[in-house]
Symmetry: C2
Subunit: 155 residues, 2 copies
């Protein structure tokens, strides 16, 4: 998961202009430890800097996605959520209770996928693997009869 400085560096080399708003929004991103919705992002952005308009935030999301500063995840329930990006090809394990994300580095599926693609004759492929479940901590919480989260909200 990118640090603030890494995000800033990506932004600086993106060809887009470095504005106060975008900088603020990176500061907002820094505060998330798991996944968040556009609405979560907007709320926290309003708390931290109420002068940033909704449209600016949505435009920034697009920019951040394009540059890999953000990644978009499709939850099983249909919600789209975002997480701060990280380097290289990887997949995610997401906790459906607290929204925590674990990166799966070194994609262990490359070989199988390669075989399938070859067999079917597809070209220019990309793949997306998402595993959803309940993380260790949230399992405990459920056992204890609570409804807790790590302070991260998900739908």
């Amino acid at each position: 998961m990118y640090t603030f400085d890494e995000m800033l560096s990506v932004l600086n080399n993106s060809g887009y202009r470095l504005t106060d708003q975008r900088l603020s929004l990176l500061r907002v991103l820094e505060t998330f430890s798991g996944s968040f919705s556009a609405l979560d992002f907007e709320k926290k952005s309003n708390e931290m800097d109420p002068s940033i308009g909704r449209a600016t935030m949505f435009r920034a999301i697009d920019l951040f996605l394009e540059r890999g500063i953000l990644e978009k995840i499709h939850r099983e329930n249909g919600d789209d959520v975002y997480i701060v990006g990280s380097k290289g090809h990887h997949h995610h394990l997401i906790c459906r209770v607290c929204g925590e994300i674990r990166d799966i580095d070194a994609c262990p599926f490359e070989e199988e996928i390669e075989m399938i693609i070859e067999k079917e004759g597809f070209a220019r492929t990309l793949h997306r693997i998402e595993i959803e479940g309940v993380c260790r901590n949230c399992q405990k919480v459920v056992e204890e009869g609570e409804s807790g989260t790590h302070g991260v909200k998900m739908g």
Copy 2:
């Protein structure tokens, strides 16, 4: 991919009522050979039976999804599309040009995923693997400088 009779049988055993509208909508589903959007579905449904309201169609989509008559796929570009369901656990290969879908039966990823889940201590997991690319036929079409599809529309 379910046949009409299979879809009907699922619907019959679903506990939901068998209405003319739902039957019509199954007939509409039958005509799709690849993926389609809710809008595609609505359009074709209007052609085949203009008396079916939009709300009914959306309510039917939910029902069909719940019963596995339909499956929802998240395209890389953010679009949600649907395909007629099929039996058992499987994943999809989708052509981003024509929307054709190939089922990948016998999930070749189970073992790796199991390992990851165990290592991370997640419970009650499910996974979703989507591979997007350009199918053999659309590769040919592109080589020939055309922009054709198999008659199936995608975003």
